[in-house]
Structures are given as structure tokens and as C-alpha cells.
């Protein structure tokens, strides 16, 4: 078990050899894990105080001057700087890498003010911006490192709490921006998940196997650009799809997959996500239960999808 935010912090350290890599903080470095970089490279770390809007445009200015800025705060507080991201970063296509930690209801007892359930949806609407939500510490580390050589801005959501490590002994080549990863192959249903729900999807697949249902499980860590080839492929093979995300049912991974499928096929789709409501204080597992996101709920959605075939 490990937290994806630790993968982010580790990646920043590994990127430090590149002297153009800089880190920007808004008084949450201890939480987002940029603090390790700050300790080792204080001269390349810009403290912006509690000022997210300023942070985003300072990052943009540095990107325009040849630097590779990684800016982070809680997912929810990145949203305060959404228009800065839109007009000052995405529009001029400056490669600023924004990381929002503590995303989703899984964040827990801080309560609804800290649980971003709309970040993937809003950043996905911005031209030029890559949007990611990795599922484990290893893939977060690898994907963060890949961002440093990308010429587009990005938004990456990480999670506060520990989840299973899924890619311990996988070659780094299998983890590429924009390429979903098929973790399990079956022909009855395809579960496409991101972030903390990927491990729940794997649990659901085990439950389903006991019932004689063989599920494909895809880790769709990149929401944009979406791996539509893989979606078409599993849609054809499995005949129905379930998406799963710790995010609003509106506009995130499920929304992106629905938009694509609506143009290419009539494959039945069920979406597991936060049902257009806010969260509240609770432990991570309690939140996944309350929001109906945990493995048994994914399994139920699979039954609904299969019935619609």
C-alpha cells in the first residue's frame, strides 16, 4: 500500500537533474509531497504562500521563460485558479504541470470542502491540457516524470490515502501518457476505472469471477487524451462497459467514455461515480461506501450493464 502523492514527490526528486525543473508551492508542500524537492533544492522552489491564483501564473511566466514548472496544491484549491489555468496557461499552451492532491471523497474526514469531485471534468474542457489520475504510487511516479518532456500543460490528480501498489514489477514502457492499461482480460464486461477505484475494480472483477463473469479491467489513468482505440477494442470484445471513478458522475471519466461511445457504437454503458451530490466527513472506506463507489457497487453496475446487452 502507498499513496499516489508520494509517487509525485519522488518523481520531482528524480527529475531534479534537469536544472530547468522548478517547483511551486502554495503552503501545502507537506501534503502534496513537493516538500522533499523544496528541502533538497530550495533555490528552485518558489513559495507562493496561500495564493493559488498567483502560483499558476508565476508558473506560466516561468514556462514562457524556458523552465518546466510543477505546481501543486489540493485538487480542490487548484480550482480557484481555473481561469488562470484557462486563459494564462492552456490558451497560450504553456507547459505548466499542475498537480492536485487529496482529490475525491476518498480524502476523508476533512469533509466536503476538501473533496474535489469535479476537477477531472473541468480541466478536461480545456484545449491543450493533458488530464491524468493515476491509480498507484509507481504509475504516478513514472507519469509525472514523463510530463517533464511534454510540451503541453497538464493537470494530474493524486490521492491522499494509501491504495494497493499495482505496478511493482512492470516495465516502465507499459506506462505511457494517453495509453490505458489492461490489467485483466475477460470477455463479458469491461470495467474502465481511474485512480483509487482501479483497485476496487480489480476486487469487483474477482467477485464477478466467482459468479462466472469474466471482466476486463482497464486502468484509464489518462482521461485526456482518451485512449479511444482501447475503448473501441474492449467495447467490441465485451459488449458492455462500466466506468468507475471517485469523481462526479458528470463530466469525468464516465462522461468522456460516454461522449466517445455515443459516436461510435451502441454498447451499453453504466457509470459508477458520485451521483451529483457533495461529500461529507468520513473515513476513506466509509466514503466509498456512502458514495456507492466500492467494489460491490461496481459489481452491481456490471450486472446492470450485462442485462442491457
Amino acid at each position: 500500500m502507498a499513496a499516489t502523492r508520494d509517487g509525485y514527490g519522488q518523481a520531482l526528486l528524480e527529475l531534479a537533474d534537469n536544472e530547468k525543473v522548478v517547483v511551486l508551492e502554495a503552503d501545502l508542500g507537506k501534503s502534496t509531497k513537493s516538500l522533499h524537492f523544496r528541502k533538497a533544492y530550495p533555490e528552485r522552489t518558489v513559495s507562493c504562500g496561500i495564493g493559488e491564483q498567483n502560483m499558476l501564473l508565476v508558473a506560466a511566466g516561468m514556462a514562457s521563460s524556458g523552465y518546466i514548472p510543477f505546481a501543486s496544491t489540493f485538487a480542490i484549491f487548484t480550482e480557484r485558479a481555473f481561469e488562470q489555468m484557462r486563459n494564462g496557461v492552456a490558451r497560450p499552451n504553456l507547459a505548466v504541470h499542475l498537480c492536485g492532491s487529496h482529490g475525491g471523497t476518498h480524502t476523508g474526514t476533512d469533509g466536503s470542502s476538501a473533496q474535489s469531485i469535479e476537477d477531472l471534468a473541468i480541466y478536461r474542457t480545456l484545449p491543450n491540457v493533458t488530464v491524468m489520475h493515476p491509480s498507484d504510487e509507481v504509475s504516478t511516479r513514472i507519469l509525472t516524470k514523463r510530463l517533464a518532456s511534454s510540451s503541453n500543460p497538464s493537470y494530474m490528480r493524486t490521492a491522499r490515502n494509501k491504495t494497493p501498489v499495482l505496478y511493482d514489477d512492470v516495465s516502465e514502457d507499459t506506462i505511457q501518457i494517453g495509453k490505458g492499461i489492461e490489467l485483466k482480460s475477460g470477455s463479458d464486461v469491461a470495467i474502465i476505472a481511474c485512480g483509487v477505484l482501479v483497485s476496487e475494480a480489480l476486487k469487483a472483477a474477482d467477485m464477478l469471477a466467482n459468479e462466472g463473469i469474466q471482466a476486463t479491467v482497464v486502468d484509464m489513468h489518462t482521461i485526456k487524451p482518451l485512449d479511444t482505440t482501447l475503448i473501441d477494442n474492449v467495447a467490441e470484445r465485451c459488449g458492455c462497459i462500466v466506468t468507475a471513478e471517485d469523481h462526479s458522475i458528470i463530466g469525468g471519466l464516465g462522461g468522456a467514455v460516454a461522449e466517445h461511445l455515443s459516436m461510435t457504437s451502441s454498447t451499453p454503458l453504466e457509470r459508477v461515480g458520485v451521483k451529483d451530490r457533495f461529500g461529507e466527513s468520513g473515513q476513506s472506506d466509509e466514503m466509498l461506501e456512502l458514495m456507492e463507489l466500492s467494489a460491490p457497487h461496481i459489481r452491481n453496475a456490471v450486472h446492470r450493464a450485462i442485462n442491457r446487452k
Binding site: E25, D27, L28, G29, K30, S31, L35, S47, C48, G49, I50, G51, Q53, N54, I76, F77, R80, T109, D110, G111, S112, S113, A114, E280, S281, G282, Q283, E286, L290
Partner: protein
Amino acid sequence: MQHSIEELEELARKCRIEIVKMVYRAQAGHPGGSLSEIDLLAGLYGTTMRVRSDDPDWEDRDRFILSKGHASPGMYALLAERGFISHDDLTSYRVLGGVCQGHVDMKWCPGVDFSAGSLGMGLSFGMGCAVAAKLDGSERRAFVMLGDGEIQEGSVWEAAMAAAHHELGNLKVILDRNRIQNDDFCESQMRMFDIPAKWKAFGWNVKEIDGHNMNEVVEGMQFLSETNDGPSILIAHTVKGKGVSFMEDNPAFHGAAPNDEQYALALSELGVTV
């Protein structure tokens, strides 16, 4: 009913005990900023706030906005001591379904006037309450508690400028100047230089006090009550974690809970005999 200085100090001491208990039980939460603000909250509610615990939604009540909404244990402790919620409710802090959500929330807890948790929002909201009171021809006032780290948010200064422009004498701020924010001391995160001069330059009436000296706290509340020619701010110099030795002036206890040993020590320092 007016309280003596000793009674207010005792109110604050009781609240401190509840703060430590809440954060210990939850093994999460924000003790530092709750302990620094609590003498101010006790002074405010004990001498100045016009509110009714048996009618928390009374239309003409003064509003209190805890803009630094993470310091919720302080608010909840006070609301329990003043009868808005029960002491039993305090066990629901950060518990699923509890009235005491991680950050103060007006949809969940009686006596809470703003759903906070995102810094830099409360002053604008308070300004809205103040403008509405004027339009209503009501005597009610809006009190807003800000953190010193919090005033690094630009939106605070948008509200500060606007409140002076609109001459909102019924808008009153208390600034908890405890010199520490999330990651570290303000001095290393973002220096703010002359804070009183900044507010003065924005057109505010300014007074500074020692936020742990109850006589000065009460004088400060009088200043806020009596200053009605434009917005006013009480800058209270405080110590983060005040009252618990190992939390005092220690950035590590911004958002961390005490362990068993520390818990016992904290309670004994606050005069609890077990």
C-alpha cells in the same frame, strides 16, 4: 449577561480541553489554530455577540464567520459551552454523519453561519451579510475571524477594499496573528511585513491586542462594537497551540493530533485531574 474576566478565562479553558479531546478522538484535525483563537472566541461570544442558542437561526442575530474553517474544534467547543449543540455532539467531530464536520459547515451545525474550509472566502461572505443588514435596516453585525496565513489570499484584499469603499461599519474582523500557517512559520512561507499598515492603507480602523490577555480581548471587542465609521479589524497577537506546551509555537501541530502520552500531558496542563 456580562461575564467577569475570570469567567471568560474559565470558558476558554473548558473549550481548550474539548479541543484537545476532539482532535485526539478523531486522530486528525487542527488543534494549533483552535487553541490560538479560543480566547478571542470566548471574549466575542461572552461579551459581544447578539445570538440566541435556543433560536440559532434568529433573523436579527449577529453573524459569525469562521473563515479559517479548519479551526473548527474551537468553534464547536464554544458552541457546546454556549448551548448551541450538546457536549455529546462534540464526539461527532470528523465522524460520518456528524454535526461537527471536519470544517465548519452551516448546513450541518447550528450556530454556524458559513460553510468554510477554503481559505480567503469568509470576508467576502461577511461583507455580503453586512450589506444585507444595512439594506434591511437591521442593527445586526458581521464578525469574521481570519487567519494570518489566510490573508495571503488575494480575495481577502478584494473584500477589504470593497468593504471600506462601501463604508461598512457593521463589518468587523478579528485576525488571529499566530505567525504560523500550514507548512511552516509565515516568515518563511510568505512574509507579510507591516500588517496593521496594510489594513490602514485599505481604509480600515485598526487595533492591536495580546490575544491571550482577557482584559485586552474584552477591550478589543469593545473597540469592534463601538467603531462604526467604516470596517474595523482587531489584530490579535496570539500563540499557535496556546495552553499546551508542546503545541505552542510549533508548526507540527497545525494539523496533527496528539498521541496517548501527549494527550495525557495536554489534559494535565489544562488542569484536568484524571
